[in-house]
Every structure is written in C-alpha cells, then in structure tokens.
C-alpha cells in the first residue's frame, strides 16, 4: 500500500498552509467516520492526512446577538446535547440525535457531515430550513460565506476547492413566530441511513403562513429545498387541502435514485410526501393561536 503521511497542525494557519502546499494530494481528517472507511475501501488515497481534530478553536457553539455559529469541528454529539442550540431551534439537535449511533456521534463532526455531502447528509435538512451558511477558509485566499442551498453540487461533491475547508456554519435566530419540525425515517431506529429525512420551518402570522422552508434528503443527488412547495404555502392558510396539494407537488418534484437500495423510488416519493405533511402539522402544533 502506498505510503501516507500525517500532520497534526497546531492552528488553522498551519493547517491551511499544508492544504495549499499539498493541494489535491492531502485529505482533511476530523472525526474520520467517513474518511477511514473510504480509505480502507480504497476509494480515496491521500498522500497526506491533515488532522483537524486538534483544532479546538473550531469546536464551539456560540451565539452572537441574533446569529448562531457552530464550529466545523463540533461533534454531532455536542450538537445533539447543546441547550444553546435547542433554545434556538430544536430541529438541529433532534436531527443530530438521529445520526448514526452514540459511538459515531462522539467522533463525527458537523463540518464533516456537510463536506462529505452524502445525498442523505443528516444535518442538511434542518440547516437548510434554518437558512444556514457555510464559512470557509483557503490558504492564501479570502474566506467565503456560502449559503447552504448553494453548497452541494452532487453526491459527495461540493463547491469546496481542494485546499478549502469549512471553518464554521452559521444561521440567524428564527423569529419568535417561527416553528419547526424534523423527522427521519430509516430501516432501524439507530444506525440507519435515511430513507427520508425532512425538516420544515414555518412562520405564521395569524392564520396565514408568512414564511415556509422545506428541505429533505435523500430524494435527489443532494439534499434539497422544496422552493415551489414553500411558495405555495406562503401567504395562505395551511388547510388540509393545501397540505395535500403540496404533498402531491413534492412527490412529483423529488428525484430519488431509480435503483432500489433500502427503498424503492416510489416508496421514497410517497413517504416523503407523508412525512412532509406530518412535519408541517407537527410544527403548527407549536404555534400559539
């Protein structure tokens, strides 16, 4: 097997320098819960592993006024148990609690989940409906702030350059009139790749829906927002009929893979419609009338 080197940078600057120097030949390792299986399967063969797991500055959950920031190295377990996050919106800690299993969650990171960009990335739906942005750094280049719904390009593909790394994820505090819900369906209660993972965020004004955000995966090559469904909900009273209409629209618009793995495309379409409606009804329970 080809020789491989390892670097544990002391700070982000050293890390970025190494990434620039070894551009294309190095891989970032954080929790390693995806990368190590990929390496063992021979899918990736980096010449250098740059270990970000020691960069404690990137492991934080911070509220600054009306913005919440999560460092890329924050573990999924930390996201799941964060009271700060839960007070902002429970949908993100809930989704984190459904990812993998406790052993995995103690190592896997939120930055890693997004950078790996699985079509079923568990953290993506809640972050998408929270309208999160991804903050990145590159050695010698300016940093970027990328809205999450522009971040994914395809299965395991993002807009990140080879020497670019996520440093943090941020999103604005949802309005007091906003309420969200997140639900995941897998073949098991734990350690399950999603059949459908859906998140919604609704802002109500009296009886009318002022703002709606709907996201799900893996119903397409990447996690997706359902913009047409959102537009259909906005400005209207969310009746059972409207919800049914949106459910049908959603079923038409999603493009799950045709090869049946864990579930058929047909099943995923039907299930996504059901779980979307359920999530909206659940979210509306949290609205004070």
């Amino acid at each position: 097997m080809a020789d491989i080197e390892y670097l544990a940078p002391r700070d982000l600057e050293e890390a970025l320098k190494a990434m620039e120097e070894w551009k294309g030949r190095a891989k970032v390792i954080a929790g390693g819960t995806n990368l190590i299986p990929y390496m063992r399967a021979g899918w990736v063969s980096p010449e250098l592993l740059i270990d970000f797991s020691g960069l404690k500055d990137l492991d934080l959950i911070k509220r600054e006024d009306e913005t919440l920031s999560i460092g890329a190295l924050t573990t999924i377990a930390e996201v799941a148990s964060s009271e700060t996050l839960r007070s902002f919106s429970p949908i993100l800690p809930n989704a984190a609690g459904h990812l993998g299993n406790p052993l995995c969650r103690n190592r896997a990171t939120i930055g890693g989940n997004l950078a790996n960009a699985s079509p079923g990335a568990d953290m993506a739906p809640p972050l998408l409906v929270l309208e999160a942005s991804v903050h990145t750094e590159r050695g010698g280049e300016s940093s970027r702030e990328i809205p999450l719904d522009q971040f994914f390009l395809g299965p395991n593909k993002t807009v990140l350059e080879q020497d670019e790394v996520i440093t943090q994820i941020s999103f604005p505090k949802p309005k007091d009139s906003a309420t969200g819900s997140q639900t995941k369906f897998g073949l098991r209660n734990a350690d399950a790749l999603s059949i459908v993972n859906v998140a919604v965020m609704i802002e109500m004004e009296g009886k009318l829906c002022r703002k709606a955000r709907v996201a799900l995966c893996p119903l397409a090559p990447t996690p997706i927002r359902m913009y047409r469904v959102e537009e259909t909900l906005e400005g209207n009273e969310i009746t059972a009929e409207l919800l049914d209409e949106c459910g049908d629209m959603l079923k038409q618009e999603v493009t799950p893979r045709l090869v049946s793995i864990r579930a058929s495309a047909e099943y995923r379409k039907v299930l996504s419609s059901v779980l979307f409606k359920r999530a909206v009804r659940e979210a509306l329970k949290g609205v004070e009338t």
């Binding site: 020789d3 299986p37 103690n106 190592r107």
Partner: protein
C-alpha cells in the same frame, strides 16, 4: 512505511508505540499493544465491538486513527476490573446471562460505562439508546439491558 511514535495511556498505563498514518486505534491496540479484548467485528463502525473510551468518550476504535489517540487516555474492558475484583458491570453481565458468545461484550460494556458515567440512573429507553451502536447476535439484548439496569439500580447515586 513511515511511522510515528505516539503515547497513549492505556488502562492507566503510559504506553509508547510506533504507528503508521493509516493505522487505526483498533489495529494499534490489538496488534501492537496486546489489547485483544478490543474486538475487530466489521472494521467500519457498524457493530460497536471495537468500542473503547477515548478521554472518557465511547468511540469506535476502528474509526479512529491511532495517531488521533496520541496523548490521550484509552479505557478498555480490561481496565474496568479483574477476575478477582470485577467491575459491577462485568459482574452483572455474567449474572444476567448477558454473555453468550462474548464477542459483543467488550464493546457493550464500554458503551454501558459511558452511559452510567453520564446518566447514573438511566431508564430502559436510555439504555437502549446508549447501546444502539452495539450489535449482538446472540442474547436478544434483553439480558444486556437487564444487566445495565441492575447496576444502575444498585449503585448509590
């Protein structure tokens, strides 16, 4: 093959070992540090038989590079107790018939310990959640859950 020297405090004892960059903590523990009580089940984080406590957190050692454990503390089931003086969890597993083939046991006990360290009096749901990353093909899990619950009920809070 380029190797790096790392230091790990394994079950309280400081150990120095040379590892490659791609070597997992599981491989280093079993092949170079004599810790064969840590089992290699699937090698990809699906079965939990390789679970250890890394600086107090339960992790899959097959998904951790040995290098990532450098300077850290690793606790395995051997560090929990001895035959003469077993840890309450070890004793309870045996008493409740929660050990059949025994392959999952090492990892199960580490997940159980991590749970009880965090939540001294878990209910059955919390126990099931805590061991949801550990597969067992023999016991049907009930005896394992009974054993963990038994320890939690007997321990002074």
């Amino acid at each position: 093959m380029k190797t790096y020297e790392i230091q790990i405090r394994l079950n309280g004892e400081l150990r120095t070992v040379a590892v490659t960059a791609r070597e997992t903590l599981l491989e280093a523990l079993r092949n170079k540090m004599g810790a064969t009580e840590v089992k290699n089940g699937c090698g990809k984080g699906d079965c939990g038989s390789c679970a250890v406590l890394l600086d107090g957190k339960a992790v899959n050692s097959c998904l951790t590079l040995a290098l990532q454990a450098n300077g850290k503390e690793v606790l395995t089931v051997k560090g929990m107790g001895t035959e003469e003086n077993p840890h309450p969890l070890q004793k309870a597993f045996v008493e409740h018939g929660a050990v059949q083939c025994g392959f999952c046991t090492s990892g199960m006990i580490m997940s159980a310990k991590a749970l009880l360290d965090q939540t001294p009096k878990p209910n059955r749901e919390e126990i099931r959640e805590a061991i949801s990353g550990n597969l067992c093909r023999c016991t049907g899990y009930k005896k394992i859950i009974d054993a963990i619950r038994d320890v939690s009920l007997r321990t002074e809070s």
